[in-house]
Amino acid sequence: MSGEQVVTLLVYLVASVTFILALKFLASPRTARTGNLLGAGGMALVVAWTLLRTPGMLEHWWIVGVAGIAGSVIGVLGARRVPMTAMPQMVAIFNGAGGGAAATVALSEFLSSASGRAAGAGLLPIVPVIATLAGAVIGGVSLTGSVVAFGKLQGFIPGRPVTYPGSRLVAALLLGAIVVLGVVLALIVNSVPLFLLFVAIALVTGVALVMPIGGADMPVVISLLNSYTGIAVAATGFVLGNYALLIAGTLVGASGAILTQLMCKAMNRSIFNVLFGAFGTGGGVVSAGAAGEQTAREINAEDAAVLMAYAKKVIIVPGYGMAVAQAQGPVRELMDLLIARGVDVEFAIHPVAGRMPGHMNVLLAEANVPYDRLKEMDEINDAFPTTDVALVIGANDVTNPAARTDQSSPIYGMPILNVDQAEHVVVLKRSMATGFAGIPNPLYSDPRTAMLFGDAKQTVQALVSGVKNA
């Protein structure tokens, strides 16, 4: 091993340590940003080293230059311009890009090895072939799956589960075809057209796997696809004999998998149920207890403001409705006013409120709500019985008491915020429509509950002026 190679490996080691620290520092809001910058620094180091010291780079620098500038412009513009509400789909599309890159690298390596000119080191013959196939298929699934997830959250593709008779059979057949073709390519024939067919099937499979999943479950799907891209990257690390890719890819593959599991646990559902349950069909089965016209009591903003202004304790429950209306600024203002009047104000954050875990925290932090006022579900659920007013802002399914009592409800068993135990419940909502899961919420017909209809931002602004006058 030459001195140059030793330094390369040391550069990979340093970069890998920064990646691990980036994830580790995310354990606390105080260190999280430093960690991310550290990871970016490690990434810059390994990219710079690769650019400067790779044999053959001198003749091909323009490829990296042109493509690198184009990719950077797209990445920065996308990341800077996207509104905070659209963060989940942005992560999805960046993840899809990574999966696409891994699949493309694998494809290029396959073509090279078919013609005997691979960029990577030749491993044992069978290992690189398997790794190439894995990188191509997992990267391909991640690419199209992420694009569908993006489309569902952005509204290009219907958010409801898209299923048709036999859709599961089709998915199973696609997966079977991948396995069979993979075995053929690995053991029997080294054929380029067959490999292209293999990649094409992977791309179709990504679509077929994500289409039947409802929009509410997209965060779990994005997390899972994130893990897939990590595994695809690790596989290409094997193909190229590159430890940086191997370590970083595996790190993300494992952390994405455990994160996916944590998210499923928060909803009290299995990953199998999320992927194949076609959850939230909407308008389908309505359980007997909740069927029929819901009778809800309405309240106006002035009365609701007075209710809160003279309360001792108010818990605010934010949901996706707050994000859509961009109401976080007025919500902070409302909190400040209430605190100034001596009201104890806290926020109850359900693990899956919004479209991603932590989505609400990000938005409220953006509005300068101190994060020690944000309480996680387990921390705050016991406080509802001693709360005067629970203010639900555009959250629905995570407050649905049917999850506790109604065994026929699709969300039965999901841990919920015990909003219905507060003395008064004020629900801000645009209409009586069902939530993302498409199931009615008996909370709204509870005698303690009053509905305040309208756009969340305008309504909260009305509450703010109401509290000022109270």
């Binding site: 091909h60 963060m87 992560v91 891994a102 191997l246 990000v362 101190p370």
Partner: protein, 103 residues
Amino acid sequence: MTDALDPRALIDALVILVLAAFVGYEVVSKVPTMLHTPLMSGANAVHGVIVVGAMLVAASADDPLRVVLALVAVVLGTINVVGGFVVTDRMLEMFRRRPGDKG
């Protein structure tokens, strides 16, 4: 880049793979729910290291088809890595404390 991985190097790679998987599992188990979105985004940025793989492919691209593939791979990889880190930083920027908050 490493030389041809002989069986010994292959075992090394497997050891690294297994240990990295455990590190990933352990590190993420300790992250609080409210930071799960930035975590997903941060992990997403880390697998943007695929851009290095794309660059290695570019360095050995010696026919038009592979030049095109290298261009595509580097563009996608750069979007992943640059967008990933920038968007994560933007999220985390919002977790900074207001001046005057204690703790």
